[in-house]
């Protein structure tokens, strides 16, 4: 797709593109920059950012969509929760169509299971408050942007004295997978466009160990076309100067320290744990578990959930897409057997997923 002509900052972005091309002439080898934010992925496809870049500056989409990185076993556990008629499963809408081993929440709902879509974890708490005879299980997925909101819901349930609110927690944290991907020689990453909203919470300081240990440039970037282009310029400048620093392009919303209040609330409820990522496997210290003293809110510990045996669709290549090793267009199922209307893999479900973005804007 060509860069959108009607875009208001066309001249600005075109100048940036020309500058990037000039800078890229000085590169001795091609560079691979990865974006790890689903919102970036969507913007890059929608605005045709790739078409503005020279051949030796490549953008790779990483594991930035929370729905996509949630493993099939988690979907199975959520589906298992719907089997008990006492349970209401409350979730953000995009989890509904993610295929599990045998079923999805959408299919179970069609068969009569009580699955409700909420926009805020507090809506799920309100649901529990209004239905004292039922158990409300909220599907807690998402990165550092979402985890504090779910922590807040648990504190709210404590305040209300609710004993029928549970969270099936599968929160993930960002810097760890970035480290794993940086160390992967196949990807040969030369820089990161760091996520915008995750960084409003954790702050840009969180990427400093990564930049120092792996000598990889990191730029926290907003998601307008001019932001993304400027982020790429800043990464290129670092590569050319042989530097590896953390920089903030998105200073209008992101600070070095992040949001301390959100961090404190997160720490009151969660502790770091090992977490299983679709495509990346089990990554030490990359997740957030509910603290032992709050175990009564932890669906995993408080309820008996039997997810059955896990089965991944062998034809789906989401794992490789999430690692940036395969472009959606190279998956044999893309746009044939797998479409947003009937997704085979998680990357086609949420609009932030790489396959969904490629389907909608990339063809």
């Amino acid at each position: 797709m060509k860069f959108q002509d009607e875009f208001r900052d066309r001249e600005l972005v075109k100048n940036m593109a020309a500058n990037i091309r000039r800078m890229a002439e000085r590169l001795t080898k091609p560079v691979n920059f990865m974006e790890v934010c689903g919102t970036h992925t969507m913007a890059i496809y929608q605005f045709g950012i790739r078409s503005l870049l020279p051949e030796n500056v490549r953008l790779i989409s990483g594991p930035g969509c929370p729905v996509c990185v949630t493993p099939v076993g988690y979907v199975d556990r959520a589906v298992a929760c719907t089997a008990d008629a006492r349970n209401i499963v409350a979730t953000f809408g995009d989890m509904l169509r993610v295929p599990g081993s045998r079923s999805s929440l959408m299919e179970e709902r069609a068969k009569g299971a009580d699955v409700r879509i909420v926009y805020s974890p507090l809506d799920a708490v309100a649901l529990a408050n209004a239905n004292p005879e039922r158990r409300v299980i909220f599907l807690g997925i998402g990165f550092e942007t979402t985890a504090p909101t779910i922590a807040a819901s648990i504190l709210e349930a404590t305040k209300l004295g609710l004993s029928n609110y549970y969270v099936l927690a599968s929160h993930k944290t960002m810097p760890v997978p970035m480290e794993i991907l940086t160390a992967d020689p196949d990807l040969a990453l030369s820089g990161y466009l760091c996520p915008a909203h995750v960084s409003t919470v954790i702050g840009a300081n969180a990427y400093k160990p990564l930049a120092e240990k792996y000598r990889i440039p990191c730029v926290v970037t907003g998601f307008e076309p001019a932001d993304v282009m400027q982020g790429i310029e800043m990464l290129l400048a670092q590569v050319l100067a042989g530097e590896s620093r953390v920089e903030i392009q998105y200073s209008r919303a992101v600070s070095w320290e992040g949001n301390p209040k959100a961090q404190t609330i997160m720490e009151r409820v969660f502790v770091p744990c090992d977490a299983s990522w679709r495509g990346l496997g089990l990554l030490p210290g990359s997740g957030l578990a509910i603290k032992p003293e709050l175990a009564r809110f932890d669906a995993e510990r408080a309820l008996a959930i039997d997810p059955g045996e896990e089965q991944e669709n062998p034809a789906c290549r989401c794992g490789e897409v999430l690692k940036g090793k395969l472009s959606p267009f190279d998956c044999p199922l893309f746009a044939t057997a797998c479409t947003p209307e009937s997704p085979v893999g998680a990357c086609m479900v949420s609009s932030e997923g790489t396959c969904a973005a490629a389907y909608k804007y990339g063809r």
Binding site: D94, S120, L122, D123, I141, T146, T149, H197, P225, N259
Partner: protein
């Protein structure tokens, strides 16, 4: 689900605000926000919580861009 949407605060009662985008009003909580906000301020709202404050100019710019990229259901 990962989106944060810039919204304008219309009213505030304790930790609960009513914020507006495109004529649609929604309740949100400011309990995660480090800084004081009041009526007329813009905040990024994610999953029912304000997570960051934003200048009006940037909020408008961001909104314009988001409307081009995202379907209305993504922005709820």
């Amino acid at each position: 689900m990962c989106l944060g949407v810039p919204m304008k605060i219309l009213s505030r009662d304790g930790d609960t605000i009513v914020a507006e985008v495109d004529g649609v009003q929604k309740e949100a909580s400011v309990m995660l926000l480090g800084e004081e906000v009041g009526i007329g301020d813009y905040v990024i709202v994610h999953a029912g919580f304000a997570i960051s404050r934003l200048d009006e100019e940037y909020a408008q710019e961001t909104l314009r861009m988001m409307k081009e990229v995202f379907a209305p259901e993504d922005m709820r």
